[in-house]
């Protein structure tokens, strides 16, 4: 089963890379943007075929390694 997770910076954490991307897009003429935030996308292919169990395991992975909860949030966006 493949679990997809997105990791984003929390709202009040400065995202200088997102800011630079925003400024660059602005300079290219995409001037309608309010904000750009950069994040991470992970795809975890697990041997577990039970959706609930697999998602629980991935949540544990997120808490223990994949994210730093001081600055980041995670969200499982797809399990198939």
């Amino acid at each position: 089963m493949k679990i997809s997770v997105i990791i984003t910076l929390k709202k009040d954490v400065l995202d200088p890379q997102g800011k630079v991307i925003h400024q660059t897009l602005d300079g290219m003429g995409f001037d309608n943007i309010n904000e750009v935030r950069q994040g991470k996308y992970l795809e975890i292919d697990t041997k577990e075929n039970d959706k609930k169990k697999a998602e629980e395991k991935v949540e544990e992975m997120c808490k223990k390694l994949l994210t730093n909860l001081i600055i980041e949030n995670y969200k499982i966006i797809k399990s198939q």
């Binding site: 954490v13 400065l14 200088p16 890379q17 630079v20 390694l65 994949l66 730093n68 001081i70 600055i71």
Partner: protein, 227 residues
């Protein structure tokens, strides 16, 4: 005094630290991250570098390596653990120190000498030091210290700030903040003050012909305090 320097894949200040520790009288051992047991140590140092290529988040992978279980137990038993630069990042990822180190505010890799002001001398690292400010070297891309508002309250309450970025006279202000760190924080302790993490590199300041002597003052004082 026995010390151990842990080498992770991608550490690159481990040998400099070895030279510095030996110069000031430590019997130092280099320990590979894959070892399970720490040798008997009075001080454990996590050196600077780019462990695991800074994959995922700086220090996150190294913080889960085999030897870190021993380092965690050693620290929990009151053992002295010092993390420099990437070592500091590993300590926060391991949960031994609060907070996290973010990308520098202006997205530049910073490599220069800075002054840091000692905030707390009531610990083995800075007790009896005659200096109030040190000139150390910094070289990092992720040194922007960040933590939650609850954490900063607790850090203040337990007087956990070790070093502030400052000017030569010890003035702490935004002008002397190289990377955007909250409150100009350059180094912090755990509550018990046996664990220290800092971005500056004292091991690069141990030879007046090459750099400066403030690192010498730091290490000479440290070994005296540990005796």
């Amino acid at each position: 005094m026995n010390s151990s320097v842990i080498t992770f894949p991608g550490s690159n200040c481990d040998r400099d630290m070895d030279v510095a520790l030996k110069k000031f009288g430590f019997k130092n051992k280099m320990i590979w991250h894959d070892e399970v047991e720490l040798p008997k140590s009075d001080l454990v140092v996590l050196p600077g570098g780019f462990s695991y290529g800074d994959y995922l988040r700086c220090g996150s992978i190294a913080s889960k390596s085999k030897i870190m279980k021993s380092v965690l137990n050693f620290a929990k038993g009151g053992g002295k653990v010092m993390g420099i630069c990437n070592g500091f990042q590993i300590l926060v990822e391991a949960g031994l120190l609060p907070g996290v180190l973010l990308r520098n505010k202006y997205l530049e890799f910073i490599c220069k000498n800075v002054f840091v002001k000692v905030n707390n001398k009531d610990n083995s690292y800075f007790r009896d030091t005659k200096k109030n400010t040190f000139e150390f070297h910094i070289a990092h891309n992720e040194g922007n210290y960040f933590c939650t508002t609850e954490q900063i309250k607790e850090i203040d309450e337990y007087n956990q700030i070790a070093l502030f970025y400052s000017d030569k006279a010890g003035n702490v202000n935004e002008e002397n903040n190289p990377n955007g760190s909250i409150k100009n924080i350059a180094g912090i302790f755990n509550k018990e003050k046996n664990v220290l993490g800092m971005m500056p590199h004292p091991e690069r300041m141990i030879d007046p012909a090459l750099s400066g002597e403030d690192g010498s003052i730091f290490f000479a004082n440290l070994i005296n305090n540990l005796k």
